[in-house]
Symmetry: C2
Subunit: 422 residues, 2 copies
């Protein structure tokens, strides 16, 4: 087997079980891709030496022999962590692996290394380039994870999202990116930023692999495709909905809507009242207030080393009153409850823009998370579908969104759509 | 000034401002109380050497010169952390202070040391004894914090609650203990256990100090007493409500109800449907599932060293399906929403039992958190009022509960009640 994503995790497991393939084949294939692509893409903050790769034994492992990249804000005992600080804060090795790292190892996954994060998963970019066009940003904050998966250097990588840090880079790099319902996977051992919104998720090139990882980490039942999408109701609504859309985004949304209809779904514009458009603003209030509190120690110790945007955010947070923070949270709570009723009565999933357009030129910015902020504040599961191309043949994603704790339903619908779109 | 709690934080600040007292007086007084009481009470896992006490400079500090105890599951750079493991996991010093430690230092607080926690803040007890009767448990998991405050060794100490780890020890030790709305204070740098419920809070001997700390950490406006409680509606309801009550608890509830009425409040039995009584069971499901995931690394590495009760819980969590976990969370969510309506329409606060009775004899158990589980799952703010005595003159608390994010209202009502009850 070669990398560049021929196999799904399930297909690989089947081949290994039939002894057509050695369990370390995939890891070795990734190493070869890293040798080819890493000089240009620079997705990795740290790579595990090949002598120290191990697979934990266990029965019924769903990720046996699957190589995985770990975002560099996630604690690891055997690898350093830098939190995207380019050296002003470095841990040679944590006293304990983050919970999710142990969950992956327990399922037989093999760690490839730590992937580049922006500074504390905010806006100051790392070194990573977009594998689809090296002159462009891969997006952020999970820059290295999205790029490594897109370049075929890893079939799977962990990311985190507090604004648009999974969905946006997945859209820019042309891979699947999944942010589950907030609080689905423990953030223990992961650097927090705004705890009411911080969410662990992952990138893969196959929707089937996104599903397998969900089952492996949550111990849910396995997620299967439906025969078709007959009876599935899809509402189209961007958050915010009051901005002119880039033609690439409009086209990607229409093409996806057409695929959904061809698979039997009914697709229609979903009216949501204007409060939902204000959530972008409330997201910023919550982000600022919580990050100023959560990063208090980092700011105290290393404020002088921090990128200007992060300093601005913390200072904005310190100037935000508790009363304003609470108002924003309470409005979000009302919208969550009202949205649950919309999901119960009117739609199964919502189809929405992932990003304002293709990956922007240059590496000085990781792009704008504006189309992810409200969904992240609402805590809902979001999946980037990398099915379309925009200008210059560069990827342009759209996201499917479901109600909180409807992750399995969302993934099942997406799996069906992707199978039929092939 | 001597310790044993004569001063409130505000009174101390006023005296220091008038130069009647040196800023280090309170810290020195705590050291003398520690010399007297620590041999019996054993509240401390680690004590800061007197040579290394520092006060951070700053303007408008609300906790200037206030000595504070830090629960030993909270990361500190200058003190070791043991997580209540009696030595099988020890960090000589974290790379970064937990966020709340920096917030306290920024307000001028002086760290006294680390207070004893049960093992990872679950049920395996530490060495601490109840200062009101050394043959009894102080409760847990914030055993050392509650005991240190009760013994006058610290005017203030941090705790955490995931089941009943603040309210129960506060009741047993006879001090104020406050668990704010979940997610009010960042858990960054604190060992997580069940992230959807883990809440940081604190203990003090004065309700005024509980209020001052809330303002210092959240930057809310200062919380003042009302003229009286006229027009305040107090609903009485225990969760669960279907158990026979200990006579001490019945008496403490009645006496508190009478005080509230004398202050002008209307007090009445609050009907809540039987779903609320089932929340204790759902709390256990959420606790088990989340802790098995969150403590995956600790269990993998140190499962053989862990106390039997924690091993049982993790194993129960590993046997709990994602579907059952989700059902419990969704039921809790429905109850949260319905309870918000009750708070909006029918009551300002709820008066409820804190614990099944006075502190049990012996140190092998930290007592039963049953009367705290449902409230913690609901994420609501809870305050233990240490106004009553039970058998043998030992403390028996009751708790006041408000809706999520009504912390300031709750504390304001409590402050009024306590002032009038004096």
């Amino acid at each position: 087997m070669t990398e560049r994503g021929v196999d799904t995790i399930e297909a690989f497991q089947a081949r290994v079980a039939q002894e057509e393939s050695d369990i370390r084949t995939w890891w070795d294939a990734c190493q070869r891709q890293i040798q080819v692509h890493e000089a240009g893409v620079q997705a990795w903050e740290y790579l595990v030496p090949s002598t120290s790769t191990e697979i934990q034994s266990g029965s019924g492992q769903l990720l046996r022999g699957v190589p995985v990249g770990i975002k560099d804000i996630i604690d690891t005992t055997e690898m350093p962590t830098t939190w995207g600080t380019s050296g002003y804060l470095v841990s040679p090795g944590a006293i304990m692996d983050a919970a999710v790292v142990t969950l992956l190892k327990r399922q037989g996954a093999m760690l490839l290394g730590k992937t580049v994060s922006t500074e504390f998963a905010y806006f100051t970019p790392g070194k990573t380039r977009n594998p689809r066009d090296l002159s462009r940003t891969p997006g952020g904050s999970s820059s290295g994870s999205a790029a490594a998966v897109a370049a075929g250097m890893a079939p799977l990588a962990l990311g985190t999202q507090t604004a648009g840090s999974i969905i946006r880079p997945a859209s820019y790099c042309g891979v699947f990116g999944f942010k589950p319902t907030v609080n689905t996977i423990s953030f223990s051992g992961i650097k927090a930023f705004a705890p009411s919104m911080d969410t662990l998720g992952w990138f893969a090139r196959h929707i089937e692999d996104i599903c397998t990882v969900f089952t492996a980490l949550t111990r849910s039942d396995s997620i299967e495709a439906l025969p078709d999408l007959t009876g599935i109701r899809v509402g189209m609504r961007n958050l915010p909905g009051d901005r002119p859309l880039d033609p690439d985004v409009t086209q990607a949304l229409s093409l996806t809507a057409r695929c959904l209809e061809q698979a039997g779904a009914s697709v229609f514009a979903l009216p949501l009242d204007p409060r939902y458009d204000e959530l972008v603003k409330h997201h910023q209030v919550v982000l600022a207030y919580e990050s100023a509190q959560t990063l208090a120690s980092e700011f105290q110790q290393h404020g002088k080393d921090m990128g200007a945007k992060l300093v601005d955010l913390v200072e904005q947070g310190l100037a935000t009153s508790y009363a304003d923070y609470r108002s924003s949270l309470l409005l979000a709570e009302q919208c969550k409850q009202a949205l649950s009723k919309v999901f119960a009565d009117e739609v199964d999933v919502i189809l929405a823009a992932s990003a304002p357009g293709i990956a922007p030129q240059g590496l000085e910015s990781t792009g704008d998370p504006v189309y992810c902020r409200a969904w992240t504040l609402l805590g809902v599961p979001c999946l980037n579908l990398p099915l379309n191309k925009g200008q210059m043949g560069l990827p342009i994603g759209v996201q499917l969104v479901a109600d909180r704790w409807q992750d399995e339903r969302l993934l099942s619908i997406a799996r069906t759509l992707v199978a039929l779109a092939r």
